[in-house]
């Protein structure tokens, strides 16, 4: 199933609705990285609230998206990881190092806004 990607101001929001196959995940990665350039996005939010399982491929894909988007000029934040999923992930050693996380969509937007302000302050 294809993941819908919404554009909201300078941010892209990918909201995962159901369990994804490896092919779906790869497709999501390609689409997101392409659209970051197309819409000149400064931030990406991936909402995983609907996922109740997160395997190593999913975790790697999310990490890849973050790093690739950063190279293209956008910060990424993963939002909505369920407590049970988080617990299972650390048990398996899948810890999403170097990837920003937030509680939900609202928090993710707040995080990206802070990041944007910091960038302006630096400039």
């Amino acid at each position: 199933m294809e993941v819908p990607i919404l554009k909201q101001g300078t941010y892209l929001i990918a909201s995962i609705q159901s369990a994804l196959t490896d092919a779906d995940l790869s497709q999501l990665r390609e689409a997101l990285v392409a659209r970051v350039g197309k819409y000149r996005a400064r931030g990406v939010i991936v909402d995983v609230t609907a996922l109740d399982v997160m395997d190593s491929f999913a975790v790697r894909t999310l990490r890849d998206i973050t790093h690739m988007a950063r190279l293209r000029g956008a910060e990424t934040v993963i939002v909505g990881i369920q407590p049970e999923v988080a617990f299972a992930m650390v048990q398996l050693g899948l810890t999403l190092k170097g990837v920003a996380t937030a509680l939900d969509l609202e928090e993710g937007l707040a995080f990206l806004n802070t990041k944007a302000r910091e960038r302006i302050d630096r400039a």
Partner: protein
Amino acid sequence: MSTPKDRSPSPQPPSAEETAGLLRELVSHLRQNRTQLREEWARRITRAQLLTAMTEEEIFAEATSVYDNYVEALETGTFEALQAYARNLSERIIPRGVETHEVVGIVLLLRDVLARSLFAKYHEDFNKLNRILDAYEPAANRIANRVAVGFVQERERVIRQQQEAIRELSTPVLQVRERLLILPIIGVIDPQRARQLTEQLLRAIRTNRAKVVVIDITGVAAMDANVANNLVQTVEAARLLGATVIVTGLSPEIAQTLVTIGVDLSEMATVGDLQGGIEEAERLIGYKVLPLSETTATA
């Protein structure tokens, strides 16, 4: 004078019928001398300084019930009634601090008192005495066994219950400010508790929409590699939900242990004490606490 052979226990165990007959005889003897044996037993309990938590009247009252149950168990060969009574008794006396050795002690004393009375009754007929003891000893030992096991099981049940209660009490997650939680940990962290802590914390982060969590481990006496790794996992899991964790109150001993065993805590934010941790957390959320005088001066 009897030969040594006569003295030794009968070479083959008595048949079931014979045992039943002997036990019947034994039971009627014990019934006849009930008052006297019971008193003798209570006297010996007091003299051996067992059940010091109970008064003499209480001991005598319990001794009477145990005696009757004991004789009944010998007679019927079924232990259900005695066991139920032992469990009931344990329930009553455990909260008063009666120890296992006392319970085992009194049952063994009763066995001795009864054996003595058998010696006194049959001392003229060694063969008969031997056969009576053959019938009596296994039954008496089985009773002692059952009572002791029942008592220990009851104790273990009480201990398990208390452990459960302590475990539930021991992990409060408290909100001290909007979006700021503290989790004071006191006592030993075992894997099971670490798991419970993490689950509880993650749930609390979600329901309170927490942004920062301060975990205070001032009350944790010792830490090894396993516990440290559990802590790191808890921190990581909280981060996946978007919360920052600050650990406070690492004692000098724990700091030294962690450095010596080489656990990598570089990913973890640590602050000296709980106060410092809360101040740091407030800064992260964007609070600034000022004395009232200063706020009125600037206003």
